[in-house]
């Protein structure tokens, strides 16, 4: 058994997979912030780099666990085969994502890795796949964009009813925005504190997490209120009125942009770290039990790969998107991003590997349905569904093929 070469290849493949996430998927999450002008390119890259890493590091383990042992039953596979299998899944997913990226297909790295893990297991034995869990995962791929759309619809409708439709929208915004700040800060704090601080030895129960999340949220709300009440304004004309309003929302959108990056890191890092964790455990000679302790360096490695992807390629993609979707204004971007961050964080906590890219598209469409955009391309839904249908079998086949090949080599 040559386990060291397998580990080394796996680490390289995992970094490459994370690189892919940083190079493309991050841009998808940051696009609405750059498009609206809430973040400049440089700021977007910094926000993405920092918060993707934090998300991966603090909340990355839930989904990582699912990819590692929620799709196939690791206990019933011979360790050597499991090691090779996870490596095949990783290589297959990375390969498919690269091909899809070349052709500009909107495929999801999450779908690819799930297909990859299924692929090698199917070669061994169909019964190794935990079908009931898999059905749950596939269900979450449909539910998550829809819930993103629904939530963003409700958020934008709230902004519309409480702010935009009023004669003095800024006056109303001063009252409503502190609540938005509370809600946003609360979601992030909760996702970090509840089950998130185990990494650094703090394990708080739900009640305490709730309490400790309300504190920063309250502080945020208070600061927001103070700053807003000091804000003096008068407008020259009607156009100026809405410009000033949008300028206030820029600050909110900066918060939600951080949240989306954080949530994205939390969910998508698993696409590379999930298989790697299994391989690392097996390398150390442990049999994979249902209880998992994820080495922090693996999550850090995933986060590092993402940051590498952002800094070497992702920034260009962010730039391109930022120029393309200038129709997003801060009020719209805030609605879509808050909905995305909320949805992705909830699914991450549930350990569900979902596609953040699809959730943000769902959220943008939700704002569109609420009447937030002049033109929305609903046909994008069709593209996304096609890419789902394509990704699973392709990643599955790639993974099976690579698995057969690796068995011959090792």
């Amino acid at each position: 058994m040559y386990t060291l070469p397998i580990l080394i290849i796996a680490i390289i493949a995992a970094i490459y997979m994370s690189w892919n996430i940083g190079a493309n998927d991050v841009a998808n999450s940051m696009g609405t912030s750059v498009g609206s002008g809430a973040l400049t390119l440089t700021k977007a890259v910094i926000v993405a780099g920092v918060f993707e890493f934090l998300g991966a590091f603090f909340v990355g383990k839930h989904v990582t666990t699912t990819i590692s042992k929620g799709i196939v039953n690791p206990v019933s596979i011979e360790p050597h085969l499991l090691m090779l299998g996870m490596l095949s899944a990783l290589i297959a997913a990375a390969l498919w994502v690269t091909i899809a990226t070349y052709f500009g297909l909107p495929v999801s790295t999450t779908h690819s890795i799930v297909g990859g893990v299924m692929g090698f297991a199917m070669i061994l034995d169909n019964r190794l796949i935990l079908w009931h869990k898999l059905i749950g995962i596939i269900g979450s791929w449909i539910i998550s964009p829809v819930s993103g759309a629904l939530i963003s619809y409700l958020i934008f409708l709230t902004i519309k009813k409480t702010i935009l439709s009023k004669t003095d929208p800024i006056k109303e915004a001063k009252k409503v925005i502190p609540f938005f700040i509370f809600f946003t800060t609360f979601i992030i704090s909760m996702s970090i504190i509840y089950k998130g601080l185990k990494n650094i030895g703090l394990n708080l129960c739900f009640k305490y997490s709730l309490l400790f999340s309300i504190i920063p949220a309250g502080i945020g709300m208070f600061i927001g209120h103070i700053l807003l009440s000091r804000y003096k304004y008068e407008y020259t004309d009607e156009e100026d009125k809405y410009n000033k309003l949008e300028n206030i929302f820029i600050y909110l959108q900066i918060i939600t942009a951080c949240s989306v990056a954080f949530a994205h890191g939390a969910n998508d890092v698993a696409n590379s770290t999930g298989p790697l964790v299994t391989i690392v455990e097996l390398y150390k000679g442990k049999s994979v039990s249902s209880k998992i302790i994820i080495p922090l360096w693996v999550l850090a490695l995933g986060g590092f790969g993402i940051v590498l992807g952002i800094s070497t390629w992702g920034y260009k993609v962010i730039h391109t998107i930022g120029e393309k979707i200038t129709e997003v204004t801060p009020t719209r971007g805030f609605s879509a991003e808050l909905a995305t961050a909320f949805t992705v964080l909830v699914f991450s906590k549930l350990g569900m590997p979902i596609s953040t890219s699809h959730v943000i598209v769902g959220s943008v469409l939700g704002v569109g349905i609420a009447g937030g955009f002049a033109t929305v391309n609903y046909k994008i839904i069709k593209n996304i569904i096609y890419s789902w249908i394509l990704t699973i079998p392709v990643a599955l086949l790639f993974s099976s093929g690579i698995f057969i090949l690796l068995r011959i080599i090792f």
């Binding site: 943008v364 009447g371 002049a374």
Partner: protein, 227 residues
């Protein structure tokens, strides 16, 4: 750019309402040139006329380009919060305004003769009304964007309807003035040549056409607002 697989990039595009604003800006620019042309014409000063006419022609091409750009890049897959047909006919009306501005310059140049002294003031008044209707039209397209930004807030829609109402008022004013001016031109049949009568009365007709088209554009915008 290659190596992009992010779906968000295909989800949104530039708002056609903003493109409409670009279009109406060009109309305003052309109207300003026509204002200079018209003054030159009334006082029989044709030295710089051709230069200005060419500029208008250039602007008309630009406006045409924006118009076809909106039409071509508004495929069925893009949903709009307003009726697509009405939106397209709004562009059509705005384009007619631009065409009429160009036509007036060209019609003036066909017969390089000054306007009889006793008609000068009337022509100025009629022109000013046409110019005013363009200004209001521009204002309503700008306000249409505000309405979209407010996501069709009731109070903003009411304000826009008020602006559009002015277009109707101006059009009626223009109609009355056209009728009286044409009468006045024909009452001079013994003093000026039939050619002059033809040229002048057609000019009245063209000037009146501007407020007809801006009024129509206003009606289309009002139809867009209907919820």
């Amino acid at each position: 750019m290659k190596f992009i697989r992010v779906p968000i990039i295909k989800t949104l595009r530039k708002s056609p309402f903003k493109a409409l604003k670009d279009h109406v800006n060009i109309i305003k620019e052309s109207a300003n040139l026509l204002k200079e042309e018209f003054r030159d014409y009334i006082y029989g000063n044709f030295n710089e006329f051709e230069e200005k006419r060419l500029k208008v022609e250039e602007l008309e091409l630009k406006a045409d380009y924006i118009k076809s750009n909106i039409r071509n890049h508004l495929p069925q897959k893009f949903r709009m919060p307003v009726d697509r047909g009405t939106f397209l006919s709004l562009i059509g009306e705005l384009d007619q305004v631009e065409d009429t501005i160009q036509d007036i310059g060209e019609w003036i140049l066909i017969r390089e003769k000054p306007v009889p002294d006793n008609l000068q003031n009337d022509f100025f008044s009629l022109f000013n009304i046409a110019y005013k209707s363009i200004e209001i039209c521009e204002q309503s397209v700008i306000y249409l964007n505000i309405v979209i930004e407010s996501s069709f807030a009731e109070n903003e829609r009411v304000k826009l309807k008020e602006i559009i109402h002015n277009l109707h008022r101006v059009e009626t004013e223009s109609d009355t003035m056209e009728r009286e001016l044409t009468k006045k031109i024909f009452s001079m049949e013994n003093d000026i040549s039939p050619v002059a009568i033809y040229h002048l009365s057609k000019l009245v007709f063209l000037l009146g056409d501007i407020s007809n088209h801006t009024e129509n554009a206003g009606d289309r915008i009002r139809a867009l607002l209907a919820r």
